[in-house]
Amino acid sequence: MAHRTSPQGALTGRRPGGDDRDVRYFNLLSFIVSNAIAGEIMAVENYSEMVHLMLTTDSKIETVNQAKEECKHILLLSKLGRSLEFAVERQIVEPQWKNIRKHFSTAAGKGDLPACLIIQDLLTESMAIVLYKTLSAEVDTDPQTAAVASNILVDELEHLDIGVRRIKALLDEDPDRVQDALVWAHHRVMPELFGMISTSCHSLCDVLAVDCSSLALDSIRTDIETLKIQALERYIETLDVAGFSPTVTSPLIASMSAYEGMGRIAVGLNDASGGACCSPESAKGKRC
C-alpha cells in the first residue's frame, strides 16, 4: 500500500519499499524528533548565552563548540526526517522547552554560572541521553534512526562529562553556592523535563498534523513508565557523579514523587470512573 502525506507532511499510510513499520511508528518519530530538535534549539541558545559567563578563553571556546554541536544535531535530525519522509518541526512548540529556556535566561541574567551549567549540562543533557539511547537501539527503531541517534549520543555524553567536570570544580570552590543552584534549578526544570516524558502534548501534534491519540511508545518497544524510570536513574547517577551529597539530592528526588499529580488508585474497587490515573476500562474491577 502506498503511503501518502497530509498537507503538513505527516504520514497517513504504510511505508513502501519493504519497510514493515507502520504509520504509527513514523508519527511517533515525527513527534519525538521534533521535540528533540526543540531541545537542541534551546541548547544552542543556552550555550550561546552561557559563553560570556565562562571564566577562561578555553572554556568560552569549549562552550561555543558545544553550541555548534547542538546545531549539527538539528541538521542531522532534520535530515533524518527528510530521509524517512516524516514531518519535523524546526522551531520550539512545546511550552516546557520555552519555560526551561526562560529559567536558564533568568540564571544567566543573574550571572549564576552554576545554575546555568546544572540546567543545560546536567539536567537537560541527562534527559537527552535517555532519549538518544532509546532511539539508538536499532532493534527497536530502524537503522537510520539508530545511526543518527548513536552519533548524537556520543556528543551528548561528552557534554555531560564536560558539565560534570565544570560542576565538580565549582563544588570544590563554593559547595553551598552550587548546592543552592541545584535546588533552584531542580524545582524549576525537572518538572518541565519529566512533563515531556509523555505522548500527549500541548500543540505539537496539531502543528505536525499527527493524531495525538495514535502515538504509542510500543512502536519503539518501550513505554512511558520505563522511560520515566530510566530518566530518574540517569538523573540520580548524574547527580552522584557530579559530586552532590545524597543529603542534598534525596529531598530533591523525593519531591519528584509529586510530578504525576499523585493520582488516585483504585485497589479492589468497581469504580467505573477509574482513578484519576487511568481509563474506566483499565480500572474496572482491578487496580489502575
Binding site: S250, I253, A254, S257, A258, R264, A266, L269
Partner: protein, 391 residues
Amino acid sequence: MVASSRPRSIVLTGGKGYLGGLIAASLLRDDTVGIVALVRPGVALAAFIEPIRAELEAQGGRFEAEYLDRIRLVELPPVEAFASLDKVVRESGADEIVHCAGCLDYFDRAALETVNIALTRALLEQSRRWGLRRFVYLSTAFSSGYIDGPVREVLHDEAANDPTDYTRTKRLAERLVAASGIPFLIIRPSIVIGDSRDGHYSGKRYGLYQLWSGIERLLCREWHPEIHALGARQPVVLVHQDAFQNAFLAAFRLLPDDSIFNLVSARDSSPTMRQLWDLWMRDVLRPRATYYYDRMADIPLRKLNSRQRALLALASVNLEIASHPWQFETTTLGWLRQRGLHFLDATFESVAVCQRLFVDSSEPIQAFFDANRQQLADRSEAFDVDVPIGP
C-alpha cells in the same frame, strides 16, 4: 456540652477527594443530613458520586436513589467571591461545615499556604457570616511536627522541626480554626490505608501506598538478590478507612464543641516498618538478603542499585515520618469507644490484608512473579545494619 441537635444540612469541602468522599459516603448511608458539596469548577455530579457509589458497593451496600436528593453540588468560587454562596447555603439550612479540602503536596509550599491556610481562613470568615454552629476541620495526626513525648489532643506549639510544610500548614490552620470564635471539632487522622476487611482502597499514592507503588514500579522490574531498606522497629501508626469512617461519624455526633481528636490506632498493636518490609520480602521480592537500617542517614545510598536508591529517595519523607517514635494521646478515642464506637485498630494482620489485595491486583507484580519464578529465594536472610557499609 454534647452536640445533640442534628444539623439539617452540612457544607462539605473536599468531597471529591479520598477522605472527603469516605465522609460523604458515611453521611449518606448512616445519617440523614443533606450535603452541600463545594467542588472545583467543572466537577459533574456523576463524577462526584461515582467514587462514593463504588465505595458503598465495596462495603456491601448500594447508592440509594434518595441519596441524590441529599447532595447539592456547588462550584467553589474564588475566595473573593465567596459571598455568592450565601444564597445556596441559607436555602439548604446548613448549620455546620466539614472542611476536608486540603493540599497534600509536601513540596509545593505556595499551594500548601493557599489551600491549607488561606482557604481555611476564608471559609472560617464565611462560616461566621453564615452563622454556622460548628466548624469541623480535618487535619493530620502529624500536625505537631517532630516533638519529643506524646502528641496531646490540644493545639500544638510551634515545632522545632516539621516533617514537611504540609504538617506546618495544617498546624497553622488548626490554630486559625480554634481562634475563630466558632465552635469547632478538629479531627487528626494518621496514615489512612485500605479497608480492614478486604483491603480495598481508592485514595492517592500517599503514605503506605506511595511506598507500595514505588516497590511495584522500581523493585518489581527485575529480581534483586539483595535489598537495602529503612526498617526501623517503630510502630507505624495507621488507620483503616472503615475505622476512619466509624470514628468520624462518632466524633461528628458525640464530641462536645471545641474537641481535638487524634484518630489513630493503638501503638501497641500497630505493625512496625520492619514487619511491613518483611512482608514484602516474604511474599513478593524474595531476595537472598535484606539489610535493614534504622535511619535514612545510615543507608549508603551511593552504593545501592539505582532503582533501590530511587525508591528510598522518592519515599524518603514518608519513610522518615513513619520511622519517628510517635506516641499519640488517645483519650478521645477511648471516650468514643465507651459510647459504642466500633473501631478496629490497624494490626500486622489487617495491614497484610491490604497488601495482599494490592499485590494480587497488580499486573506488574504478577509479571514479576512470572519472569523471576526461578530466582526468587526460598530463604531470605535479614541483617540489621547499625553503621554504613564499607569505607
